[in-house]
Amino acid sequence: MSSAPVLALAWSDWLNLLAHYLALSLLSIGGAITTLPEMHRFLVDQQRWLSDAQFNASIAIAQASPGPNVLFVALMGWNVGINTGSMANAFVGALLTMTGILLPSTTLSYMTARWSHRNRHWRSVRAFKQGMSPIVIALLVSTGWLLASAHQDPARDWPLWLLTAATALIVWRSKIHLLWLLAVGALLGGFGLV
């Protein structure tokens, strides 16, 4: 990418990158994606370590790749490393951002999971899990809705919406393997039918 910055990073810069993601980790309630605006402010606007195009491509590639969405964080670190002109630095960058975004949250989450499992018969723990259930189920449906409605133009995008609705119906009512549906989506999209 022609607009990508060329960087020379010192030790303190790498530490700064790690520290920033360590701090973001505990703020990422609802997933790392909720801290995306802050990542953009830090990497693109403040430090100018990534171009806008690299930032957006990091998200798009992670979406297209199998695995948890949080991998977009690794790609941001990877691209910072690439901008220094070295593949080894790219690995370092990916390692630092992933360690940063995961270490605090997973530690806290692990301890909470152990605690809540040990005390699962407490009235307050049961009330929390049961009381949150309708909310987290609605959040799931909302996430799917928001992903689908990223396609804004009904006249052009109605086949995409139809595909989303048909997928939801098929998965709900049948036991078909999910990969078949993704393959159909890729083929329909690849041949320009949706």
Partner: protein, 188 residues
């Protein structure tokens, strides 16, 4: 295993491989696959247990699916189980996404690729919606009662999906109300 209705992961390797395999099937997010594999195929968890663990995983900071893998791993093999499940979820997909980043630099603008990603994105959205609809059946046994569950779910959907309110307020407000209500309905 005397309880054949509720199988369990056999070993750390089983956890690692299971989570690797399900992560590799998850395009546009892994949650739909986690539910499909762990609840419907392997049956390590019932729908009710899954929703309860998911509630904790979602409220904690960090990627929800990573938190869920920690919880499930920890329940069977403690810290080692948590690490095995999380490593399974992340290791191979991480290598794959870095490979893809290199490939994308060369082929990312090809119209077939752009179209295929659009199509897969639409399917991924449908998978997540269906997962939510399926898990809703777990609410039948919820102490809140069905009318309260429907009201809370509907309000949450409207606030997040239609009004686009910030997640934190909605979770604190509606989730807090749900927890208080559940606390009062549960027998001490």
């Amino acid at each position: 295993m005397e309880d054949s209705d509720h199988p369990q992961p056999q070993s750390l390797t089983d956890l690692f491989v299971s989570f690797t395999l399900l992560a590799l099937q998850g395009f546009g997010g892994v949650l739909a696959v986690v539910q499909h594999e762990l609840v419907e195929r392997k049956r390590w968890l019932t729908r009710e247990e899954f929703v309860e663990e998911w509630a904790v995983a979602q409220i904690m900071p960090g990627p929800n699916v990573v938190n869920l893998s920690l919880t499930i791993g920890a329940r069977h093999f403690g810290l080692r189980g948590a690490l095995a499940a999380m490593a399974g979820l992340l290791a191979v997909p991480l290598l794959l996404v870095l490979t893809l980043a290199v490939a994308y630099a060369h082929y990312g603008s090809h119209p077939y690729i752009v179209g295929a990603l659009r199509g897969m994105g639409a399917v991924a959205a449908g998978l997540i919606i269906a997962t939510g609809i399926k898990l809703a059946s777990a609410l039948k046994s919820n102490p809140l009662g069905i009318p309260a569950c429907i009201a809370l779910s509907a309000a949450c959907f409207v606030a997040i999906a239609l009004l686009r309110w910030p997640l934190a307020y909605v979770v604190l407000g509606l989730g807090g109300a749900g927890c208080v209500l559940a606390y009062r309905r549960l027998k001490p």
